[in-house]
Symmetry: D2
Subunit: 134 residues, 4 copies
């Protein structure tokens, strides 16, 4: 397992008239957490795309426990839960500044060759990056 | 069970640079489908909010099978899978114009009293609307 | 001049905690209006993109007069104000169901050749479509 | 005049299939810049809302010069161009990491009393914060 934490400030644009973050926006927060994890490990996702790899999302699952609110500085904790293969498995926990757990999530992404549009093996850079953690 | 279908045109703003609809935007499509279902049944969600009821999302689950693309006229099929109580259970299927299944989803929403912020019983209007289907 | 009207239902996702449509979302409503105008004229914007033309936005201007609210069925009135050349000039007026003017806007888009990334002349299909109106 | 700079990382969710940041999303970047400016000055916008003040947008104007792209770490330079009164005037410049000017913008916001929904005078905290700069 490998875990990383990212802090994100909730934007006004992300709230809805209930006064909470619109539930669909957590997908974006999860994206930021995944991307910042890879960046910190030395492999920005953008580099992967530049090399012809795409990582579309296969599944997304969120459980909403407490609302995130405007201007909250939330912490998104992302965990790579399995050794990356054709797919990559992530879990998420989101906390507010009072350390209240706001939601938990899971995502599965798949490696795809941009040229063929078909699933492909995990790029060697990713394999090497994570092998020590599994 | 009660099923309703809504058509939604994919907007440019909803695509990402992969050329697909950004995965997080399906939460919004599901919202539109739920709301249009209630409107067609004679009970716009806005009316519920005006009466002091809120329906925050407890959980969201999506499986992405094939991408939705810009300008696709997608069909979102929403099903109320259980008799509404404190919670309301929905499932979703999204198809493109070629009748390809793009994704499936599930959501659980909870009825909340806006005054107290606490979960509350399903409003009587909702109960009456759905009782013939279960 | 050529004018077209499109109706759009305001989504929950588009509101913010002020209880209004977030101002940035009007750019998307303007997009929908432009696209539906072209579709009605027989030339979906998607077709233009398929032929290698892109229309990035050069400028956007909005004046907000009254708020749009959740579930409003707004009317977006789009006008092509000049004969299309390398650029295309649009103006917008948005009304709610009570015919209250919510905002006005202007946009300039430019035709770009997707292959070169450079501005290009207005495609002949567009020229022919609009010449009778100027 | 008072000027502040904020850095923002472009998210995948903010791109569109043209491979650029969707033009409407700059409104959100401008929001982040305004809010971070106020926070740095010691007066988070959230505090203003907690005291019953709202700042809806009266007008928005953007000129797009060059595209922002996925994962760009953009710098948003916000300037308060006039002494705040009932309205507050902002201008914006957005640069990418190569110091290329991507766009310029202007916004006018108005102070509104949340209780009455009417425009109100600039809160004294704001007046005091900015008086030394004009």
């Amino acid at each position: 397992m490998y875990t990383h934490q990212t802090k994100i400030r909730v934007r006004y644009a992300e709230t809805d008239q209930m006064g909470y973050v619109y539930h669909g926006n957590f997908a974006t927060y999860y994206e930021v957490a995944r991307v910042e994890m890879l960046r910190e490990m030395g492999l920005p996702y953008k580099k992967l795309e530049d090399r012809g790899v795409r990582m579309p999302v296969l599944s997304l699952q969120c459980d909403f426990i407490a609302p995130a609110r405007y201007d909250d500085l939330i912490t998104v904790k992302v965990t790579v839960t399995q050794k990356p293969s054709v797919k990559m498995f992530f879990s998420f926990e989101v906390f507010n500044e009072n350390n209240v757990l706001l939601n938990t999530g899971k995502m599965i992404l798949v490696f795809v060759d941009a040229a063929t549009g078909k699933p492909c093996r995990c790029p060697i850079e990713i394999t090497e990056l994570f092998e020590q953690y599994f």
